[in-house]
């Protein structure tokens, strides 16, 4: 039986090799192509707006939106720490529905490294840093679904203490220009924050499921869940939903979640029986 770490290593190497291969192919094509860089950029279909997938994430889980090569995107996430079920409605209103409380804030930057491939980092205010890479393996243009491979790693205490690598596949299906549905099987190593010598299950296998539906104009309803199907299974399964408005290169999203985790490892650690208010704002630089 192949050890999980070895499997992870092989998958990572495969992802890197496919990225480098695609990069080399792109370079060869570019050399042969005499059109100017700007003309090529105009022809890049990744620059076109995608009505079914307007953003790179649902609420916390990734989508299959392609980031154009050498372009960037930025995202801010907020998850307010006040449980919405705490106290009566008067208490909740007095705290402005949680906005008066502290929040777990996340800042994300991603960059289109190659066609169909992007890398990025994301830091949450509990001093966790997540590095990630995503590469589209199959496009819906030639296949019933699009599939991306995603690799990432969380590191706590500013990437100095405990590391939780994760591998996943994002399988998506765009339904016209109105909606997209997602399936994301994922494996998270060290999902359990305790030392492996003290725990039965150190890893989690999740099955992310989500959808984004355009309900009116540029308004969308978004929902996702990520039940743990095996391994470490503490807390409630992650559930999150929200409403969002696209405006130019921005997407503004108001959301509700049963936890404040936003990275795959944080999600694997489970939510709780309370609900939390949050928002995401993303900006595309192209």
């Amino acid at each position: 039986m192949i050890a999980p770490h070895r499997l992870l290593m092989l998958a990572s190497v495969a992802l890197v090799v496919s990225s480098l291969s695609a990069s080399a192919q792109t370079a060869t094509t570019s050399a042969a192509n005499t059109t100017s860089a700007s003309a090529a950029q105009d022809d890049d279909p990744d620059m076109d707006p995608n009505r079914a997938q307007p953003d790179f994430t649902l609420l916390s889980l990734p989508t299959n939106l392609r980031l154009p090569r050498h372009k960037a995107a930025f995202r801010v996430t907020h998850r307010f720490g006040r449980p919405l079920g705490q106290g009566d409605f008067g208490d909740l209103a007095a705290d402005l529905f949680g906005l008066d409380s502290g929040a777990q804030i996340g800042l994300e930057f991603r960059y289109g490294l190659i066609r169909g491939g992007q890398i990025g980092f994301y830091r949450t205010s509990n001093r966790t840093i997540n590095f990630f890479g995503q590469y589209e393996v199959l496009s819906q243009k030639r296949f019933p679904v699009a599939i991306s491979a995603v690799a990432g790693v969380d590191g706590t205490n500013n990437f100095q203490d405990s590391y939780s690598p994760a591998l996943s596949a994002v399988i998506s299906r765009e339904i016209g220009e109105r909606a997209a549905i997602y399936l994301q099987p994922a494996w998270v190593n060290n999902a359990n924050p305790q030392p492996k010598e003290l725990v039965d299950d150190n890893d989690s296998v999740l099955l992310g499921v989500g959808a984004r539906v355009n309900v009116h104009g540029r308004t969308y309803v978004v929902i996702e869940t990520a039940p743990r199907v095996s391994g470490f299974d503490d807390g409630d399964h992650h559930v999150s939903f929200g409403i969002e408005q696209q405006a130019g290169g921005h997407v503004f999203q108001l959301n509700f979640s049963n936890g404040i985790g936003t990275t795959l490892a944080q999600i694997a650690r489970g939510g709780n029986s309370d609900w939390y208010l949050g928002f995401n704002i993303s900006r595309k630089f192209y």
Binding site: H5, L8, M9, S12, V13, L15, V16, S19, L20, S23, A24, A27, Y111, L113, G117, I119, F131, F132, G133, A151, G152, V153, G155, D161, S162, Y163, S164, P165, A166, L167, N189, N190, P193, Q194, P195, K196, E197, L198, N202
Partner: protein
């Protein structure tokens, strides 16, 4: 092939992906950083030795020459395992010192945690320092894993 800086970042990111590691057990073990959830390690780090917190060694009282004053139990090397695992408590009827797989039911844990149901004093009986929560967690884990003589 020219390798661009972003590609190098990608490779580094994925290399880091393959390098995950846990919180260190030593951080949990506190004053006995080499403590592991094995019987040999517990014998060496807890039963035989005092630690940097000032906790007394168990064998200071629980030794073959002091059985009468130590619940008839010796924790000296070579005999400790047979005096603990599956052995009824000499002071509390119905209690078993260590029940493999059941740390909550094991009387050893009750005595180390100082639970209200114990007969006599919390251990070590020196009045503290007691075992840290992390040290007890590691002993609990040894019991959870079957309390093997490993």
């Amino acid at each position: 092939m020219k390798v661009s800086a972003p590609t190098i970042i990608c490779v580094l990111t994925l290399a880091l992906t393959a390098a995950g590691c846990d919180e260190k057990l030593a951080d949990v073990a506190g004053p006995t950083p080499n403590l592991q959830p094995t019987f040999a390690s517990i014998q060496r780090e807890i039963f035989n030795a005092a630690d940097s917190s000032g906790r007394a060694a168990c064998t200071q009282c629980h030794n073959a020459g002091n059985r009468n004053n130590a619940a008839g139990m010796s924790l000296t090397e070579g005999v400790a395992y047979s005096e603990l695992v599956g052995v009824p408590s000499s002071r509390k009827p119905g209690a078993v010192r260590v029940i493999p797989g059941d740390p909550n039911g094991s009387y050893l844990i009750h005595k180390l945690e100082g639970r209200s149901d114990i007969v006599g004093q919390r251990m070590p009986r020196t009045g503290g320092p007691y075992l840290t929560e992390g040290q007890i967690r590691i002993i609990r884990r040894w019991i959870e894993l079957g309390a093997r003589n490993d």
